[in-house]
């Protein structure tokens, strides 16, 4: 089928697509009442929550651990949470800046790609920081705390690997679809 032939047959598609089930009126009502958030808004909100909570969490955790660890380790601990908060703040602002009503498609594609890539890069960076940090915590902890670090570390690594492989799968799909586009 060549493109001109496709164009001729396009009307058939249009009439077929008119048969698609109409939009559920309940969904429309929810949209009108602003009860439904878009995926973009949900994602931005998620980043916003993280960038607000993470520094507080880091300081609270460091404050609790003051008795057990040296100042250097505690500062590294706080720095880790602050770096995570900064990357989330950057991603929150970036996702929020995508305006589907006024931007051109090329700009939106470029921005969506950029922030997806930055998200993965941030994950890799944070994983690279957390491994030596956990090792240091483990070395300087007492026996009682070590058990907690091992349990927490195993659960964290398992969850992290599941999330990482799931994201990499999506990333590969995205790259193969976009390869033709460049």
């Amino acid at each position: 089928m060549d493109p001109e032939e496709m164009k001729v047959k396009w009307n058939e598609i249009n009439s077929r697509l008119e048969n698609i089930e109409a939009v559920n009126s309940r969904i429309l009502e929810h949209i009108k009442l602003d009860k439904v958030k878009s995926a973009q808004e949900r994602l931005a909100l998620q980043y916003k929550r993280f960038c607000t909570i993470l520094p507080i969490l880091g300081i609270c955790a460091a404050f609790n651990a003051m008795r057990f660890f040296s100042t250097g380790i505690l500062l590294a601990f706080i720095a880790f949470f602050c770096i995570a908060a900064v990357t989330d703040f950057y991603l929150w602002q970036g996702i929020k800046s995508i305006d589907t009503a006024t931007m051109g498609v090329a700009e939106v594609v470029a921005k969506a790609r950029l922030y997806r890539r930055r998200h993965h890069q941030a994950q890799i960076l944070l994983a690279a920081i957390v491994i030596p940090l956990l090792t240091a915590l483990f070395i300087y902890a007492n026996d009682y705390s070590r058990i907690g670090i091992i349990i927490g570390g195993v659960i964290g690594i398992a969850l992290g690997l599941v999330a990482y492989f799931s994201m990499m799968r999506n990333y590969k799909t995205m790259i193969s679809a976009e390869a033709d586009d460049i």
Partner: protein, 163 residues
């Protein structure tokens, strides 16, 4: 800003006039029927949010097209495991009584889906008879780029079709 009642009725008439455009764009970007419903809902939310800012500088149909394309190309799919869903090209509502028409629709879906998101947007607008100036404006790229990219896309579609 229009009043709530005005916005409500403007939105209703937008959907009745351009509902098929919204479905068409989402259809060509969807992976399966669940994805199609998610994309369409996403496009509707963005249309509702953007309605206050529509000043009528562009045709309503072009504005709807722009929001639908932008929604589809920037859609942030969640990582949740998807339910076993019907592939969108096998959606029962789209399968025509005529087998030839059904296979033609499926072939067209499969061909267009081999393109990346920007190229897909270009070919959809071209198939819908938009002129190069309008396509360039919606895409945010120069007119000459539209022409050259469309030429390359058409060549690729012919190649894919012959494979």
């Amino acid at each position: 800003m229009p009043s709530i009642e005005n916005k409500d009725s403007a939105f209703d008439s937008l959907i009745s006039m351009h509902g098929s455009t919204i479905s068409k764009v989402c259809y060509f970007y969807a992976i399966d029927t669940d994805d199609f419903n998610d994309l369409r809902q996403e496009a509707l939310i963005n249309l509702w949010r953007g309605l206050d800012r529509f000043r009528g500088e562009a045709e309503m149909s072009t504005w709807v097209y722009r929001i639908c394309l932008n929604t589809c190309v920037s859609y942030f799919r969640s990582n949740k495991k998807r339910r076993l869903s019907v592939p969108v090209d096998e959606c029962p509502q789209l399968i025509a009584d005529d087998t030839d028409k059904s296979s033609m629709l499926k072939e067209m879906y499969n061909l267009i889906n081999r393109l990346g998101p920007t190229d897909k947007a270009l070919i959809l607008m071209w198939l819908d008879n938009y002129d190069y100036e309008t396509i360039a404006e919606v895409m945010g790229i120069p007119r000459n780029t539209v022409a050259s990219r469309l030429r390359r896309i058409k060549e690729r579609l012919v190649k894919y079709s012959n494979q």
